[in-house]
Symmetry: C2
């Protein structure tokens, strides 16, 4: 595993950002400023930040690799990469509203700056742009890619729907939680890893091998993200400390702790069931209880297993060695547990 | 003009509803129940209402006519009709949240029943399904139809974005307001009137003639809707009386009144600028002022002009006479001012 971002990720951002910026131009001014703010192109007043866009551009990097896995130059994966990135950001814009999250990528979330309505619309517009990009290609592969993306969007929506429903339930099983994470995170990762190949007409075996890699790597990533949501440092995660516990999210380590049948899990359930806001001391104690109940160890072990499964998929799928190496580097990078 | 719903509208609903219900089955249970509730298939507990789905199914009826205008049987327009209806309902689900509307089609709005998050997701899912339906068709016409629909969705989003921005401005011009209505309402109507023809590979002149008809009829419809939003009876509109004034919406008659340079318009502006909620007496007086300032007469006259322009488009476009007659009947029906 590596703690440095693989070079390909920054290069992918440089290749895909102009396409993203170009498609944003098609939006009306009121909607564009919100989308551009969310993506990190402009500040809250609409003035260019001069920075590179926010976010790690992991999914675009995976989509470009996916085209290269099929023997195409990365340029031929740009449309797919931009489409996946738009879908990812559509979901972030909407999820931040639903989850009441006020900070993302070290900045106030779009809905807190522009209002809920404007943020809903900006998300809608990005979802629509994602399909536009793929359908702008006259070849039938564009439609295949659009269908692949749409299937991922449906799973993403299903996962977020389950996540919201979990908030009102106190009997969520670990299987349900894994299914939710598979839908909410892994499906779009699987799409990112295969859509570039699909978009250049790769054979089904390659697309499926890449999708399998992405699905496992996506689950490993979500497990890691959930661990960071409790034990991650704010300067690393860009979110307040113990944000997921504060929001009483039924994240994977928490559900593992709650369903493990331990006294610590029982005590955790009682704390999370309190009607009032949790104090910093409560949150610190809750994090200890997740660990004591085995939630942390389970999530770490499960993340390792999923990463191993991803690696197996990768090694069993035919592609150029340098592409395989770059896929592996990204999978390693997104599952590093910097806490 | 007619006050009775043309027979074709109910027939269209019967033809398209099974397709809509079938596609809804693809959604996850948590998301599906919200969409099905919004569409009138089930009640808040998920139990089938036994009723026909809510709403007038105007856009599906227009889409089926559009296929028939190109000489195809209505069955070949079902996918386009369902897609347009999904987009319409995607926008209603999201708009109701943004506008804080609590009642639609004589029922509580989805976000008040299931929460904002669930209603956002249900809207997202319907937008995604709309594209799925069109891309399920292998023929290139499916992609043309998908692009036509996507262009309409972008204008719809632009229109709603402008509408939200207008709420924070006190200098909205009538031209801006007409542009907003053209985007928010007329664009999807224009799409509904042409997408069926596009989906069966009709020549561009037919598609453009139908789109022109739909755009003018759509504006006439919005003007009528805005008039009903002030003077419509709740049992007709399904919304509280004077709902648009209560929400201080910058609807077309209101903006016409505000920008007409009359003392009544000035007094109206002062009332709408008050920080507190408006009393029933305030609202009654505000409605009188819109009328006194000429807003009502302008909107009625503009609705008539737009309907006339729609009729001209219709008469100048080649299509079977019975289809033309049915288009004209729907245009007449949606612009009746039952107050």
């Amino acid at each position: 595993m590596t703690t440095t971002m693989p070079a390909g990720v920054a290069a992918a951002r440089d290749l895909v950002s102009p396409a993203i910026a170009g498609w944003l131009e098609r939006l009306s001014p009121e909607v564009r400023v919100v989308a551009a703010y969310h993506l990190g192109f402009v500040d809250a007043d609409g003035a260019p930040t001069g920075d590179r866009p926010g976010g790690k551009a992991l999914r675009p990097a995976l989509a470009l690799l996916s085209a290269r896995a099929a023997g195409a130059p990365p340029e031929r994966g740009v449309a797919a990469a931009a489409a996946v990135e738009f879908v990812h950001n559509f979901s972030l814009l909407h999820d931040d509203i639903m989850d009441g999250d006020t900070e993302r990528r070290h900045r106030p979330t779009a809905w807190t700056v522009f209002g809920v309505g404007a943020a809903i619309l900006a998300g809608d517009a990005l979802l629509c742009l994602a399909q536009d990009i793929l359908l702008a290609d006259q070849a039938p592969q564009g439609v295949w890619a659009a269908r692949c993306l749409s299937a991922a969007v449906h799973r993403l929506i299903a996962g977020q729907g389950a996540d919201l429903a979990f908030e009102r339930r106190d009997n969520v099983t670990l299987d349900e939680c894994l299914q939710m994470a598979g839908d909410k995170t892994a499906a779009l990762m699987a799409c990112a890893c295969s859509i570039g190949a699909i978009g250049v007409g790769a054979p089904a075996e390659l697309a499926m091998g890449l999708a399998g890699f992405g699905a496992h790597a996506g689950l490993a990533f979500q497990l890691t993200d959930d661990l960071l949501g409790i034990w991650g440092a704010p300067e690393v995660t860009g979110k307040p400390v113990r944000a997921d516990l504060r929001a009483r999210k039924k994240s994977l380590p928490v559900v593992a702790a709650l369903t493990g049948g331990t006294p610590a899990g029982q005590e955790l359930a009682e704390i999370l069931a309190r009607p009032d806001a949790l104090s910093e001391e409560d949150l610190r104690h809750a994090a200890e209880l997740v660990e004591e109940a085995g939630g942390r160890a389970w999530a770490e072990s499960e993340a390792d297993s999923q990463l191993a499964a991803a690696t197996t998929c990768l090694n069993e799928t035919q592609m150029p060695d340098d592409v395989r190496g770059e896929f592996a580097a990204i999978a390693g990078f997104i599952t590093v547990r910097q806490s």
